[in-house]
């Protein structure tokens, strides 16, 4: 079986600085991966490189998505093919209503998948249903995209988009950061509801508490631009107790121990 996502020795730079230094990660359908690691280690960079952010240059390595070279696709093509990034810092778009934006995104994705577009009324019905799932007030549909939303509301809006677009691989970049326990539960419920044997989730998180609600198959520790250690759920507990320092201390030996791909 081909993996959904296969990242091999990925190196990426921003301007002239190398930030990703040999990332290896294999994600199969039906899996949930958690990526933890200190600030500045490159987790968001990995997420954005996967989504195709133009500020980053891949200098070597490869990323296969369903066996195809992901890196040659434009960001919008990746999205329509089923890659989704829930941003750590979602962008505000004044003047564009959330509902219009969501319908456009939804219909463009549907079209790419050979499905029929929904008209505004049909879409509205679906939108209401998905908003219930993420416990978002319907009033947010007519507001400008993310404008004036609180941190938590923005994160819910990301999850709402994920629920509508039904991606094959969803990367959630610290979606749980800054959320109170209720919001956290909402995010977890949505992820659990959307998880199927055919899709996969990669969750970047700082907090082991998220993993009380979402059962990951693998936990990876990111350090200095690469996956320094991988394990099961117990690794998250270890990190919680001993901190990232324990990982860093083990230095190069850990890095080499993680060479083999996971999954």
């Amino acid at each position: 079986m081909t993996a959904l996502l296969e990242i091999r020795d990925l190196h990426a730079t921003v301007e002239t600085t190398e930030i990703l230094r040999g990332v290896d990660l294999t994600v199969n359908a039906g899996e949930i991966h958690a990526i933890m690691g200190p600030n500045g280690s490159g987790k968001s960079t990995l997420a954005k490189v996967l989504a195709g952010h133009p500020a980053y240059t891949v200098t070597s390595g490869e990323v296969l998505y369903k066996g195809q070279n992901l890196l040659e696709l434009a960001p919008d093509e990746r999205a329509r093919a089923g890659i989704f990034l829930a941003f750590q810092y979602p962008v505000e778009i004044p003047g564009v209503s959330n509902a219009n934006f969501l319908r456009l995104a939804f219909n463009q994705t549907r079209e790419a998948r050979g499905l029929e577009e929904l008209d505004p009324l049909e879409f509205d019905e679906l939108l209401r249903e998905k908003m219930k799932l993420v416990e978002m007030d319907y009033a947010f549909a007519s507001r400008s995209v993310n404008q004036g939303f609180s941190g938590g509301e923005k994160k819910r809006n990301e999850i709402l988009q994920m629920a509508l677009l039904e991606p094959s691989v969803a990367v959630l970049d610290e979606t749980d950061s800054g959320l109170d326990i209720d919001a956290l539960r909402v995010v977890a419920t949505a992820v659990n509801a959307l998880a199927t044997p055919d899709n996969a989730f990669v969750m970047v998180t700082h907090y082991q508490r998220l993993l009380n609600y979402i059962e990951p198959n693998f936990v990876h520790v990111f350090a200095a631009g690469r996956i320094a250690r991988s394990g099961g759920k117990e690794l998250a507990f270890e990190l919680e107790e001993r901190g990232y320092e324990s990982v860093r201390d083990q230095g190069a030996s850990i890095a080499s121990a993680s060479e083999g791909s996971i999954g």
């Binding site: 989504a51 195709g52 952010h53 133009p54 500020a55 434009a74 960001p75 919008d76 990746r78 999205a79 329509r80 989704f84 990034l85 941003f87 979602p90 962008v91 778009i93 004044p94 003047g95 564009v96 509902a99 219009n100 934006f101 319908r103 456009l104 995104a105 463009q108 994705t109 790419a112 505004p120 879409f123 509205d124 400008s144 988009q161 677009l165």
Partner: protein, 444 residues
Amino acid sequence: MKPLLAEEKDRFLAAWEARREQTAFEPDWLASLRRTAIARFDATGFPTTRNEAWKYTDVSPILKVPFASATGSIGKLSFAGFECLRAPEAEGACLVFVDGVFHRELSSMSGITDCLVVTDFATAIAEHGDVLSRHLGSMSEPVATPFGSLNLAMASGGVVIIAPRNCSYVAPIHVVYFSGGSDEPVASHPRTLVVAGESSNLTVVETFASVNGVASLTNAVAEIHVGENATVDHIRVQREGRESFHVGATAVEVARSGSYSSIAISIGASLARHDLTVQLADKGADCRIDGLYLTEGSQHTDSHTRIDHLVPHCTSRQLYKGVLDGDSRAVFNGKVVVHHDAQKTEAHQTNRNLMLSPRARVDTKPELEIFADDVVCSHGATVGALEAEEQFYLASRGLDEATARAVLTYGFAEEIVQEISVASVRRHLDEVILDRFHKGFSKG
């Protein structure tokens, strides 16, 4: 050598002479105002680009056109044509002017309540001379300028709105100034006067429109007095045809705890200029002035604003946005002056320009002059393309590049339009920007 634009000035002076007979019945105070104004215009003449305030806007193309005086005829135009200019919400108070001449049969004034005076200029001279003589031309800014002086000297049509104390009129009052009723190029000088008394509440929409294909000059002035604790919501839409010239000035004075909000839209005319000055004259006065200009082809639009914080504890907020395409040009000059005593002022000003074409050009100059020390002020201007992070965000949701650009351009303009409180005006502008920037992006 003759001074620049002297001949052109002489033609306007001759037009003034020609209409003296018609104004013979006017009261002395008005006749004297007009004489002073025309003398001032005669002394200054039309501004040239050597004048700092007109540095980027050359008015000589306006003055090359031999404008006739208005007859006010609606010519071949149909009543139905005017119907679609009128905001249905303003059914109770909609006044329509053609080339500066009031047309009662195109207007409706059935909803005006006892407390409120909404009337045309000529009627107001006869019936409300006391209020008029106190307020007309009392604010120096629009009057002192050459075009403002010319307006005061020539104005025969316009609207006078007087809201007494505690008068709250919830529906909008709509004034339609339409130019180009005849096939000849016509110059008109409409004037709006709003006197909002203590604790009164008004929404005033001014629409400037004309047909394509006929040159016209609209030289408009509006004076707005916002009384103590009063609220005036002012929407000004300039959507004239592509052969027209538009010069407008709005002068506002806000009394203690009064509040003025303005949305000024400029999408029409070949050459358009709008000056807006707001004096925050007493404690707690507040203004919020927003603007949107959309230019394409060879259009030129110039927005000059000035806000004076004269006393402590006043607030102002300004957001002007422009979307420029083709070979068009825009000018933004926004001055905020915080005077010596005006402590605890809060003033924020932003001008943002989105350039859709490499040949378009904007000259933007936000100016902040602060003579008090305990204030919170900010100002800034941006000129550029669409935000890369916004484009990436939309792309990451599957929107192709062309669609993402269209959505963001639409949103850029819509941020101003969506603030318009009168639904039909908002919807119309929404259609205009959808049509310009995003044909396939229908509203759901």
